[in-house]
Subunit: 145 residues, 2 copies
Amino acid sequence: MGDEPADLLRKHGLHVTAQRLAVLRAVSGKPHITADGVAEVANAEIGAISRQAVYDALAVLVEKGLIRRIQPTGAPARYETRVGDNHHHLICRVCGRVVDVDCAVGSAPCLTPAEGRDYEIDEAEVVYWGRCPECRARARTDSEV
Amino acid sequence: MGDEPADLLRKHGLHVTAQRLAVLRAVSGKPHITADGVAEVANAEIGAISRQAVYDALAVLVEKGLIRRIQPTGAPARYETRVGDNHHHLICRVCGRVVDVDCAVGSAPCLTPAEGRDYEIDEAEVVYWGRCPECRARARTDSEV
DNA sequence: ATACAGATCTTGACAGAGTCAAAACTTCTT
DNA sequence: AAGAAGTTTTGACTCTGTCAAGATCTGTAT
């Protein structure tokens, strides 16, 4: 014992609630899920959950480092449980699918920009944009018509 | 001749309109301007412009590569004319300010993730999150109270 | 067990940024 | 000058997310 989701919450000084457990499970079960998706999954699981509770739970879990928030530009934020390692994301511009990509250069490559100018940097977020194999294939097929 | 804004538009097969010229000038004159800011500047210049026209113009200019869109999460998108070079952005979590940072590793460092898996990648987006010198100073002062 | 304080959730209004659709108006070409 | 296609206006609307206040639940100390 000690690694159950409930213990994980307690360990961080958080109250254990049905909502938080459901949110945690939703994110674990479906990497790269959106807040909206979490609400849906959690709803199915515990019958009902308010939007606010979802956002609150996600925020506190991110703060405690139990989950990670990725914020692709122009798209809703997504959440995942894979934390602690330094990996990036590849997003298909067509279908929106997100996949993990290990960092190309090592452990923390881009964390130090050339000139920090007294900025205090705590995170470097890297997102690769492109098209996934499926969408490339589909584009090819479509243009053949 | 040939490098006037108007010619620039024609060169790309776009109709030359007062709205587009105003938008182009707004972005040139004020790096990292938001869509809202563009609307304001353009309004002052040509008397009136609809929000939709601003968004349309910005979108088409981005598409043609005449300007570049940066979309920090949680903050409105920004536009700049500095295109063609590879640089990233440093965003202050507190005040939202955006500054350019030249790429740490060279010309196009992160454009090739370790494993492309047949993805067709067209852009690597790097965002450094942190706190700017001013906000750091303010935080220090505030806690002294 | 019981009660309490504080943490958490619900509800419902609200905000910012951007999109959609249809009609009116321009620009470019002939 | 005239027409077709490209642009702009207008106004409603969506999508993410936030705020605030009161109701409810959790953990802890009786």
